[in-house]
Symmetry: C2
Subunit: 358 residues, 2 copies
DNA sequence: TTGTAAGCGTTATCAA
DNA sequence: TTGATAACGCTTACAA
């Protein structure tokens, strides 16, 4: 006789306790336990309530989110799709979002596209299958169908940094136009006159287009009261370091005694410019001015220090998650746009007469 | 008469199609559809099979992983717990793991501790609740109970970079001892004699302890045939830049004409050393040699280039996920250790007579 | 205030 | 080979 049948053996030894186990242990029905869990304060006799409470504690019970999701149709899960986890910007967003989600009791499901924007649809499908309640999308946004899919699932969507074409969704981003002006004005005030905006291939990526457009219009506007000001744009790719070198050389040629400078559109591009400078043997500040988007931890220590435009990345992530969670709580507004300002971090790379390096 | 009842209206308009919808559409039972899904090649009349296939396509049906998880007791989910997503090492691991998981049809659930190691237990609980099938842990491993929890759930665990105290689990990591020797030998061969190993607070973190121990034993062993070789260790913290400066100054003093050098235990520490050098006005190579763990994208561009020890981070992540997936497939071996070698990237910071910077 | 029972979307066991 | 049917762990009418 293995176990005397007097005490109906409390719970299967090692598996997670279920609501049924708790009910048995407390001598009540499953419904009662469920009520205790979900409507604690209402409709409960103190006596019963404590019995349930004790049983829950005794069995270390916690409800299965899976079963809850199945029943309720939602999951306390938020789907985050990023173009690539290798991108520090995405990571910062991830970090902020993760924080906000944890505070609100959500868990993040991550899908990284590995820079293959074709897979955006796949990502959304996979995430939707897990009943995520909403999406945060930090992708290129070139797969319009994909984002539409998300909306079609009837789930709220927040776009970070990159707009999707004609999508009705909340949008959280840096104020690109303002940030570009910040950088460009800083350079012109420092005396630089031949400006080059270097971006990753602009394609149809909204943030890149916005920055480029803002740059052009700054040049147009400022050309009036700034003698000799001129600007152009260069699209840089991973492998074409030759092209970049060439662009830099011809920039300096064009300058003709005026001071040449570069605005780089993100940290990746900045690093490419840094590499090019090393190849060319030029010095930041004197040979070439630089303001770069994204203030990284290493920016202060390259050459005379790299002037950069800091994005409130983590804040962006937090806000994105916040927006989404508000929607999940029932907020019903037309799509919002939240634009955060960048901050200029002036350093040596935008000082024309760089003092000799110590 | 809204809809003629001849065709039993195929499926509720907008919601996800369920297996019941498919069954109805194909005129078969749910069981048959399920069989088609799971045991495709066996037990199916071609006729029926195609009918089901067509219905599935027509309704764009895909099974709900939630329901499957509930029924099967597992979820195609893998839980990844990292100490902090801000750590580039963790991100690289994440990236590798994510890739491997996607290839094997798993999805990653991420929980970042935000450097609060107390929350490791919480993380494992949360993830376990979602029926993740296994864990990849890249945490400090000071909360022993937590990891034990994971094991108690009966789910396989893979540890990355940091061992947990007496835990029976697969372990994937850099060959720390070998890597330290690589760096230290490089430094001594370059002529440096007064060595300082700088680590984050060693506490009980396994990788830090291993590196420190390896450093000490290298010094011991090498002191025999290397005249004047001496080594010590310094633990650096975020806010104590004063202490770091002091440690560097006294290192140089101790050197007494011999060449002083530093081995920094990760990228974060390296950056602190870089900052300290800027404060002190010293130059890498000549004033102080440096070899740093982690070869970052910016390493080549700081000062004369930072000599570093590259870790195969992404590979570590991929292997970790791989290990886990093998276990999930039923592999039943005693805990394995997989150690990958680091690679030395020699640059200017370990050349004593640094040529004047161009 | 509590319990009974149905059902969420699957899979697995049994008959047919 | 196929179809009922009973779970999986939970929530929620509806009854009591």
């Amino acid at each position: 006789m293995p176990t005397p049948k007097t005490k109906p053996s409390p719970a299967p030894s090692h598996a997670r306790a279920t609501i049924a186990d708790v009910a048995r242990e407390a001598g009540v029905s499953k419904a009662t336990v469920s009520r205790f869990l979900n409507h604690r304060e209402t409709l409960l006799t103190p006596d019963i309530a404590t019995r349930v409470e004790v049983a829950i504690a005794a069995l270390a019970y916690s409800p299965s989110p899976m079963a809850q999701a199945l029943k309720r149709g939602h999951s306390r899960l938020i789907g985050l799709v990023v173009a690539d986890v290798g991108n520090p910007f995405s990571v910062a967003v991830l970090r902020g979002a993760e924080k906000a989600c944890q505070e609100a009791g959500y868990l993040l499901m991550l899908f990284s596209l590995g820079n293959d924007s074709q897979r955006e649809g796949e990502a959304i499908q996979a995430l939707a299958a897990y009943q995520v309640e909403g999406f945060i999308l930090n992708t290129l946004g070139r797969d319009d169908g994909a984002a539409a899919d998300a909306a079609r699932h009837g789930k709220p969507v927040v776009l970070v940094d990159r707009r999707h074409h004609d999508m009705q969704a909340d949008f959280v981003s840096l104020d690109n136009a303002g940030a570009v002006r910040l950088g460009a004005r800083h350079l012109t005030q420092a005396g630089y006159r031949e400006l080059l905006f270097i971006s990753e291939p602009i394609k149809n990526v909204s943030s890149r287009m916005e920055r480029d457009a803002a740059f052009r219009s700054f040049i147009n506007d400022a050309a009036a009261d700034t003698a000799g000001l001129h600007g152009s744009t260069f699209e840089s790719t991973q492998d074409d370091s030759e092209g970049l070198d060439q662009a830099l050389r011809s920039l300096r040629q064009r300058a003709q005694g005026r001071l040449p400078a570069v605005i780089s559109s993100n940290a990746v591009v900045t690093l490419r410019v840094v590499a090019a400078m090393a190849r060319l043997g030029w010095r930041f500040g004197s040979d070439l001015g630089l303001v770069g988007f994204d203030d990284t931890e290493w920016s202060p220590y390259i050459g005379p220090g790299l002037t950069s435009i800091a994005q409130p990345t983590e804040e962006l992530g937090r806000l994105a998650a916040g927006c989404l969670i508000e929607r999940l709580k029932g907020l019903n507004l037309p799509p919002r746009q939240i634009l955060l300002s960048g901050r200029l971090m002036p350093r040596g790379s935008s000082i024309p007469a760089a003092p000799p390096q110590a």
